[in-house]
Symmetry: C2
Subunit: 182 residues, 2 copies
């Protein structure tokens, strides 16, 4: 039978700029066992599938420290704790690509790794783009590039694109547009 676990005690391990780490002691209700759960708290983020007038999607290449790798991703950013995700998405798209969008449609949220982390990422589809100026953070360096849906789905299936929000954003946006245009 499925039951929620009961929290016995919560210990704060680390408070960073991006994440907080906690060690919770819980009771497993079904058998009365006491065990611990490691938790990473994160404010969540927003990722944007932005399609330009040629039908191409805007992506950014950037360095990612955990893999020591340069990765290809859709534009995205971290929420401030409590920030509205639509406002954040509009800001991040402009900062990372220079684009503003006249149409900004919500495609839902996903949980990146619900076993130990509470990070949610919200996805938006941005169309009718108007180009302005980029505005990156001081220690943020990116390169912009553009691909068609067909190219991106091939890159997902060939395992060239590995970032979860990019795979989910592209696949959901394609399905959304296929259903809309039927």
């Amino acid at each position: 039978m499925l039951e929620k676990e009961k929290l016995v005690k919560s210990e704060s391990i680390f408070e960073g700029r991006v994440i907080r780490v906690k060690l919770d002691t819980v009771e497993v209700v079904q058998n009365g066992n006491i065990t611990t759960r490691e938790l990473v708290e994160h404010p969540g983020g927003v990722a944007i599938v932005a399609i330009n007038d040629e039908g191409k999607i805007c992506l950014v290449r950037q360095y990612r420290r955990p893999f020591d790798e340069i990765m290809l991703e859709i534009p995205a950013g971290k929420l401030e704790w409590g920030e509205d995700h639509r406002e954040c998405g509009i800001r991040e798209l402009r900062e990372e690509t220079g684009y503003s969008a006249k149409e900004f449609v919500y495609l839902g949220e996903f949980y990146v790794t619900p076993g130990f982390c509470n990070e949610k990422i919200h996805i938006y589809l941005a169309t009718e783009l108007v180009l302005g100026e980029k505005d990156l953070d001081e220690n943020e360096f990116t390169e912009s590039c553009e691909y068609t849906f067909d190219e991106l789905v091939d890159m997902i299936m060939n395992n060239e694109i590995k970032d979860a929000k990019t795979v989910i954003g592209i696949m959901k946006a394609r399905e959304y547009l296929n259903r809309k245009n039927k």
Copy 2:
């Protein structure tokens, strides 16, 4: 210009059963700035899209502490540090659903949240299933259920399914089978 960051110093913050937390000090090569990066290390996991003889996909409902929520997910498990992901996938499918698969096809890997965490999840497509006995861990409780691809894609688009590995597994498996059957 894109450059990898240079590691200056790495401090261990926490060593848990599931995750390790580190605080790296790095040099941003482009401007010489020194900054810190919070890192969560995770051994990675395997998730399985298992299709039974009726064409339905096997899912499990389970409690997830970070959201205090019962979630619908494809079967999955954590790798032991250094474990072969194919072996892990075969074992986890059997433990969580009781199924063994005669066909076990690799659909690639994804990075759950590459901004701060090095967790990779490998995805397999399992078909020609043979039912045996489940074998859950002591503090693991799940409920099995089955859905068609059409039902699952509707649930993804309606935001009823939020788990990243489940969204990616279903969308990649459907695309793989569509291309194969063309």
